[in-house]
């Protein structure tokens, strides 16, 4: 009975109710959207590297080392000399070590020099390996393996020639050393998708004629000669390490951090990520605060509309009372209406969120390399929705109590 009354009275004021519901829905969608982006970004960062126990680079900051070695964000302050790299590689705790050399680029994509072991050792999304969609990994000095995004953006196929430039925003192309694409990787949702991978020796080969970064006049070493050269690298940018036993991770980390010949830094990727979250945490809190404020604003708007409707509905309430409804019923009806509005808003907000995700998912992936999964609402999201409904009920109590008092005092004679 009371439900029917509530429904009918809402239907009678369809326009204001709809507006209120839409305001709540938008605020809920915004809040949940922010949450989705936040958790999605965290998850995609955390999924980028797994199975690597330590990352070693020049001594800078742990977050910086993680960002440039794994996420290709920013640049290395220094390199790691080959001597130090070999020293570390020879330590008994080290099960495997994969060097990484960054600094060159192809169009807008980074070129990374590494060893073929990288393809076995690099793991993402808790233990998945890189797989080749087409072709094979590097076998020749001038072979390159490209990530899925590189292939898609530049329309490359296996066997195409590719020219590698020196420095990130470089005007000069290393066009006298044509590389050939030997393989294209499957999409991973990690920065590997946007990377051109060549061998360490290839990185050296690129720079044979490029003393101090500019071509030496009148000198161009033929490819055959380069192949004969000793292309032993002098330095690498960073290295990924796996240890034999987890129990040795921290001893090895300390040994590297206290390595006397060169200032080095070893980090645990997971720990560095935590540090990054601490930095980002402030912005996250601000985002959550702003989107919570939007929800609160929408609910206050609902309260205002209920207040303004009270005067219109004075006669209605009085009639209810005359029909024998208790003041309790009047109060209950108003609270029920508000709760229904909030619930409708929350449900519509959830729908809006999923509609938005369907539209934005591919765009966000292309623009930021951030994959927002479309999945059932998490427990946390359900709690938020429930919270919105509960808050709607609580907020509506204020006008409802006023109506309760009025309906006690008001007789049939309404002075208007």
């Amino acid at each position: 009975m009371i439900f029917r009354l509530a429904f009918c009275s809402m239907a009678a004021r369809a326009l204001t109710v709809t507006m209120t519901v839409i305001a709540i829905a938008l605020s809920v969608a915004l809040f949940l959207g922010v949450e989705k982006v936040r958790t999605g970004a965290k998850a995609s960062f955390a999924d980028t590297i797994s199975g690597t126990d330590l990352i070693v680079g020049a001594r800078s900051g742990s977050v910086q080392l993680l960002l440039y070695s794994v996420f290709r964000i920013g640049n290395a302050t220094n390199n790691l000399t080959w001597e130090s790299y070999s020293d570390i590689a020879a330590r008994p705790e080290v099960d495997w070590i994969v060097p990484i050399s960054l600094g060159d680029s192809h169009r807008q994509f980074r070129v990374m020099g590494t060893t073929t072991e990288f393809f076995e050792r690099y793991k993402y999304r808790s233990g998945r390996s890189l797989t080749l969609g087409d072709g094979a990994i590097m076998s020749d000095l001038f072979d390159a393996v490209i990530g899925a995004d590189v292939a898609a953006t530049l329309n490359y196929n296996v066997g195409d020639p590719i020219v590698v430039a020196h420095g990130l925003a470089s005007f000069t192309n290393h066009d006298d050393q044509p590389f050939r694409i030997s393989g294209i990787l499957e999409k991973t949702g990690t920065p590997v998708d946007r990377t051109v991978i060549v061998s360490l020796r290839a990185i050296e080969a690129i720079h044979v004629d490029w003393a101090s970064g500019a071509r030496i006049q009148g000198q161009s070493t033929p490819v055959e000669v380069i192949r004969q050269m000793d292309l032993q690298p002098q330095a690498v940018t960073a290295a990924l390490i796996g240890v034999n036993s987890r129990l040795q991770v921290f001893s090895l980390q300390r040994a590297i951090n206290e390595y006397p010949q060169e200032p080095l830094l070893a980090i645990l990727p997971g720990v560095a990520l935590q540090e990054l979250w601490q930095i980002v945490g402030i912005a996250e809190t601000a985002l959550i605060a702003v989107s919570s404020m939007v929800i609160i604003t929408a609910l206050i708007g609902m309260m205002a509309t209920i207040f303004s409707s009270l005067n219109e509905r004075r006669r209605e309430m009085a009639i209810f009372r005359a029909m024998g409804a208790r003041p309790r019923i009047v109060l209950g009806m108003l609270v029920l209406e508000a709760t229904l509005m909030a619930a409708l808003g929350a449900a519509l907000g959830l729908l809006l969120l999923y509609a938005g995700l369907v539209v934005a998912q591919p765009m966000v992936d292309r623009a930021f390399g951030l994959w927002l999964p479309i999945e059932a609402p998490t427990l946390r999201e359900l709690w938020v929705l429930l919270g919105v409904v509960a808050a709607g009920a609580i907020v509506s109590l204020i006008p409802a109590l006023r109506a309760y008092r009025m309906s006690l005092a008001d007789g049939m004679m309404v002075r208007i």
């Binding site: 129990l247 921290f250 206290e258 645990l268 997971g270």
Partner: protein
């Protein structure tokens, strides 16, 4: 005093010698210690690094018998990991190996000397020594060392401890309660790095919240 020729020679030699010298110091924040925890099967390995200020309240070289006593008792406390880092009974953990020592950030030969010194004199011997010679000798001894200190910058000292535990049921180790803060009133917080089957992560544990939740690490 054949000091002039010495100076002459030293100026000749010093430049290459300086180039060879390695100068680096670790960060050192009083009140903040570092604890690394690694889980592997039934074994738990821990490394603790805490500033001397946290553990004994001073970082100068032990001058008095009292200083030495407090260092020795701190080392003894640090060698009992399960009383400092309390694991649930259900995990049935026991200590396989525990070692603790004081290291000061001075030059290494110097540091070695301290160790020898401690080894040579030990406790009993030291008490005798104090009884025989009274305080004067001591003060002198202290002064000698103070000179040493002026040569370096202000020195810091750190306690290092390494533990290896084995647990019958490591999955039952759902939390660690840090009695460490009760044992060492100057310690404010511990920065924790942890690695387990599920990857690596970091925590901070402080005097106000001395419990670390390990659920989800297995």
């Amino acid at each position: 005093m054949k000091i002039l020729p010495l100076i002459a020679i030293s100026t000749l030699i010093s430049s290459p010698a300086l180039a060879e010298e390695v100068r680096q110091l670790d960060a050192h924040e009083h009140g903040v210690g570092h604890l690394d925890i690694a889980f592997e099967g039934q074994q738990i390995a821990m490394q603790l690094h805490a500033p001397g200020a946290d553990i004994v309240g001073f970082e100068y070289e032990a001058k008095t018998a009292e200083d030495r006593t407090s260092i020795d008792s701190a080392v003894a406390k640090l060698a009992q990991p399960l009383t400092l880092f309390v694991l649930p009974e259900a995990a049935q953990c026991s200590v396989v190996q525990a070692s603790a020592a004081l290291e000061s950030e001075e030059e290494h030969h110097d540091h070695g000397a301290h160790d020898d010194h401690a080894a040579d004199h030990g406790h009993e011997d030291h008490d005798d020594h104090a009884a025989d010679h009274g305080h004067k000798d001591h003060d002198k001894h202290g002064e000698d060392h103070a000179h040493d200190h002026d040569a370096h910058a202000a020195s810091h000292s750190e306690f290092h401890a390494e533990y290896l535990l084995t647990c019958a049921d490591p999955a039952a180790a759902s939390e660690i309660t840090f009695a460490y803060f009760d044992a060492f009133p100057n310690a404010r917080e511990l920065e924790i790095q942890m690695i387990s089957e599920s990857g690596a992560t970091a925590f901070e544990v402080s005097r106000d919240s001395p419990i670390l939740d390990l659920r989800g690490m297995f």
